[in-house]
């Protein structure tokens, strides 16, 4: 259980997934990818670990993932085989908004 900090980056312990926290409520939660707790980018992954079969929908780079209550938003910065969950509940892909290009 940890509080997530906006701007922090985490990686999966069991696949290639990496995320950045975009928004987070100030409560302790368990953020998992592929059913295993996510790690700081600088921590080494355990060897040979694989995602749990309940969490293998995968992640896609650039997609934003949110919980049903919209308290948390994660940006996938690297895709992988595992899927994201908070306290065991899978996160959903947030629908992209159509934005006019201003640059």
């Amino acid at each position: 259980m940890n509080t997530l900090k906006a701007g922090s980056r985490l990686k999966s312990a069991v696949c290639d997934t990496e995320v950045m926290v975009v928004r987070a409520a100030a409560v302790e939660v368990s953020l998992e990818c592929g059913g295993a707790g996510m790690l700081a980018l600088t921590v080494d992954k355990p060897a040979g670990a694989a995602p749990s079969q309940a969490f293998v929908q995968g992640t896609l780079v650039g997609k934003r993932y949110v919980d049903a209550a919209d308290r948390f938003e994660l940006l996938c910065t690297k895709g992988g085989r595992g899927s994201l969950s908070i306290d065991g509940v899978p996160l959903d892909v947030k629908q992209a908004k159509a934005l006019p290009s201003s640059d």
Binding site: V61, T77, K78, G79, L99, S101, D103
Partner: protein
């Protein structure tokens, strides 16, 4: 959080897609990331504290921006049109620095001892050979300075505005959807690399995975030709550039057709009504977007979107028609508030000071500190009002308000009235000192070719349309008005001249 993440994600998702083209040369996302990492490793080893750029747009600009992020130090693009003494004054402020520069610009310039100087060819050569470097995460943390921009500084020494990684990433994540561009899309970057719009163009394009086409030196014809040659679908211009493109089309009879162009965004100054209206006639199928932002806010904070343009352009209702001259509504990621002299928020329709708040708002200068108040609001120093529909209208800079006998007078409304006089080609209104009123209204006027008009006629013209306090006490006829190279009026220069 680091701006390098935008490029890492683009290189992960579309490694072989073209990221940037300048003339005959291009780089893919993977090549750009490798170039930035290699240059970043050299910069880190050099012990330099800033990465400077003194050059026109080229592939070296995005390499230097991301290399600085890799090395965890600020990127400082500088205005290459400055005089040698002005350049020297900036260089000593970023020592020790790793400087990418056009050698011609450094001839006769004293370079401080702690500088490593390279040119755009060298940085690109170094990027292509040499040992590969690891993909370890970039050093800078979210609160580190990513970009430092010297303001144009019409008064005293230029101020150094700082933008942190968290400010720029907040802007990108709030306004761009990752990978949203189609592979055939191309955006034309004509603003110079030292302008905030030049920085946001790189970050937005890379994050959207949109092919960036650079125009090293702007003129109307080159802009049109580059649009056609590269199949440009999106472009950003400052109003002066759009005016030059239209002048070129109208003067030369050149074919204005831009079959690939879908979206044209503009910002960085007030857009003259005849220019945007002519542009909408020339390119009726193009989506126009007006982007209002400041260096200190990491670029755009309000947008007039294509729908707002069409509503304004096609409406007979003056309240909707004038929308074409607004800067649109605040973007979702920021809040904008109009405040009166007592600091309290003003109701719709009343002109006051424009304040903005949000993660992208840096509002900070080196040596001065943060200008944000306790609740995070930044005074833009722009004046303006919000209409009942939530559209923001700007009304000049707070510093330009004329205080005549305790009455606040906005130069903009007097300029708008004078500009409608048939004899007048260009006009600027500024404060001039006055023993009776403290300040009074001064007007510098450029006449249309062959036109003549008496001062008394211009005074009557203003008196008939505005209050008598708005009538210029001083009228000065001139050949031209002072503008900087980005088309920004140098009011301070004019004020000094009219006061002399």
């Amino acid at each position: 959080m680091n701006i390098l993440m935008t490029l890492e994600m683009a290189a992960e998702c579309h490694p072989d897609r073209i990221a940037v083209t300048c003339g005959e040369r291009s780089m893919s996302h993977a090549e750009l990331l490798q170039a930035a990492r290699r240059a970043g490793a050299r910069i880190r080893a050099s012990g330099c504290r800033h990465v400077g750029l003194l050059d026109v747009n080229s592939l070296a600009a995005p390499v230097a921006l991301y290399a600085a992020a890799c090395a965890g130090i600020p990127y400082v693009p500088m205005n290459y049109r400055l005089t040698k003494p002005e350049i020297e004054a900036l260089l000593v402020r970023i020592e020790p620095a790793w400087l990418v520069a056009d050698p011609a610009l450094l001839e006769g310039v004293n370079i401080p001892a702690g500088f490593t100087v390279t040119d755009r060819e060298q940085i690109l050569r170094d990027a292509c050979d040499g040992q590969s470097v690891s993909d370890e995460p970039a050093l800078a943390d979210a609160s580190a300075v990513a970009v430092q921009l010297f303001t144009s500084g019409t008064t005293g020494a230029p101020k150094a505005a700082v933008l942190r990684h968290e400010n720029l990433m907040s802007y990108i994540l709030g306004t761009v959807e990752f990978g949203a561009a189609d592979e055939r899309d191309a955006t034309l970057v004509a603003v110079p690399p030292y302008h905030i719009a030049g920085i946001s163009a790189i970050l937005s394009s890379i994050y959207a995975c949109r092919h960036m086409v650079q125009l090293p030196s702007f003129d109307g014809q080159a802009w049109l030709e580059t649009c056609r040659r590269e199949g440009v679908t999106n472009a950003f211009v400052v109003p002066t550039m759009l005016a030059r493109v239209i002048e070129h089309v109208d003067a030369s009879g050149a074919d204005p057709a831009l079959p690939a162009l879908r979206a044209l965004a503009y910002g960085g100054g007030k857009m003259p009504a005849p220019v945007i209206e002519r542009a909408m006639q020339l390119w009726p199928t193009v989506d126009f977007t007006n982007a209002y932002g400041l260096t200190e806010t990491s670029s755009t904070i309000a947008l007039l979107d294509p729908e707002g343009h069409r509503e304004g352009f096609n409406s007979a209702d003056p309240a909707v028609r004038k929308r074409l001259h607004s800067v649109g509504r605040p973007i979702d990621a920021v809040q904008i508030e109009i405040r009166g002299e007592d600091g309290a928020p003003l109701p719709a329709g009343e002109v006051g000071d424009v304040f903005v708040r949000g993660g992208q708002v840096a509002g900070e200068y080196l040596g001065v500190g943060s200008l944000l108040d306790a609740d995070g609001w930044f005074p833009t120093r722009d004046r303006g009002y919000m209409d009942t529909y939530g559209f923001l209208y700007l009304d000049g800079r707070a510093d330009d308000v004329i205080v005549r006998g305790g009455e606040n007078i906005s130069p903009g409304e007097i300029e708008d009235v004078l500009r409608r006089h048939p004899a007048i080609a260009d006009v600027a209104v500024v404060a001039v000192p006055d023993t009776e009123w403290g300040e009074t209204v001064g007007a510098a006027v450029v006449l249309a070719p062959g036109a003549q008009v008496a001062e008394a006629e211009l005074r009557d013209w203003v008196r008939e349309r505005l209050r008598s306090s708005r009538v210029p006490a001083v009228i000065s006829f001139r050949e031209h008005l002072p503008y900087n190279e980005m088309g920004k009026m140098l009011r301070r220069v004019l004020r000094d001249q009219l006061s002399a």
